[in-house]
Amino acid sequence: MRNLFALLWKNQFFVLFILLEVTSIVLLSRSYSYHGSITHNTTSDITGSVFSSYGNISDYLSLANENEVLANENAELRNMIDASFLITDTLYVYRDSMFRYIPAKVISNSVSKSNNFIMINKGANHGIKKEMGVISSNGVAGVVVGVSDHFSTIMSMLHGNMRISARIKNSGQLVNVIWDNNDYLFGTVIDIPSHIKLGKGDSIITSGNSLIYPEGIMIGQIESHEINNNKNLTTAILRYSTDFNSIKHLYAIENIMKQEQDSLLSQFDSDNE
């Protein structure tokens, strides 16, 4: 036993190297699954405050541009209020809102890695919870995976494990959207039934099946569709409507009825067992 310790001590450099390398790989491997990245991520007030104080400075540089985007969005929202409609439907008595939007500012973001994350300046104190959907004013942006008191981390659409349920706007067919690692401008639409032919510019929207996003939020437009007669399901390239390299403002979406929907689903699951 003593000899063993002596041997280890003599080779402490090598032993330490192996030890540290194994530690890193274990830490790394935990973050490779989707749920791994939900439970183990490094959102904290320390990294958050460093990023946000830096963000305060850099925001001044893009104020003009941001104002324009916000003004456009205000105009769009104004179009949606009741007063904007000519005819008010008197039969429309029951209206319950299902989704609530929490505006947030991006304080750190990446697009060049194989798995990209976005950090925003709103956290648990502002009502952000894990697995809430996040959109920009142009389209879907990601899913919340980590929350601290004042900050949250978002798994961006540009993450290898990202997969969201979508719909082809024209035909209503259900498909899935993933990201295949190369370019932050483009995603991949998979599981397209082979009888569907998509043209350039066809819109892909959220399906509403995931309970995370409302139905009909823009994801992107088809860039090219490869038709292969031998397969039942085909894939297409999609251009994201969100420009991930320049996003500054995001909205986290709270599904107020998620608990009710989830409990309904789990009830069904337990009935099946």
């Binding site: 991520n41 990023f51 060049s112």
Partner: protein
């Protein structure tokens, strides 16, 4: 003697803080042609004193990598690449600068080993760091050539930035 040591320690701590801040605040937000990201912080590990205790070197490198990971949400990725180059560093120094006597606390910087020697040293370790980093990140050998081109370009870019950083800081010392 103690004064020399403190001086070296302080200089390295300042280097650590400034390089990490530049890395996570500026360079991590830089995406040249879409996916290139230079890694300047490796310079801190390269410039640690040449005759530093080897185990201490491993631990410092691990913590450096972990700090960068912490900000980039990639826990373990940079740490493993940094530990690997720290492991290879003593051998590399021995290979390239066998004839040079390093004083206590002296860095293997261009000031002592010349620009040519430093380039050889920096390129080889940065290259290894980038290989580990990029292949661990995608975790597959698919797109091998695409990833390899990223490794090459990123190495060139990182070493270029290191040289610029060294030129800027060494000028300041003279004046």
């Amino acid at each position: 003697m103690i004064q020399i040591m403190n001086n070296v320690t302080v200089r390295n701590i300042i280097r650590f803080i400034s390089l990490i801040l530049i890395q996570v605040l500026v360079l991590n937000n830089m995406n040249l042609s879409g996916y290139l990201n230079p890694y300047l912080y490796i310079l801190f590990i390269l410039l640690l004193p040449a005759n530093i205790n080897r185990s201490l070197l491993l631990i410092i490198a691990f913590l450096t990598g972990l700090t960068v990971d912490y900000f980039g949400n990639t826990l373990g990725l940079h740490a493993s690449a940094c530990v690997a180059i720290a492991f290879m560093r003593p051998g590399t120094i021995n290979l390239f600068f066998r004839n040079y006597e390093f004083n206590s606390g002296e860095s293997p910087a261009p000031a002592s080993i010349g620009y040519r020697g430093f380039l050889k040293y920096a390129i080889s370790l940065t290259f290894i760091h980038q290989i580990i980093l990029f292949y661990l990140e995608v975790f597959s050998l698919n797109n091998f050539l695409f990833t390899f081109s990223k490794v090459m370009l990123s190495t060139v870019l990182s070493v270029l930035l290191m040289m610029i950083a060294i030129l800027i800081t060494s000028k300041r010392k003279k004046s």
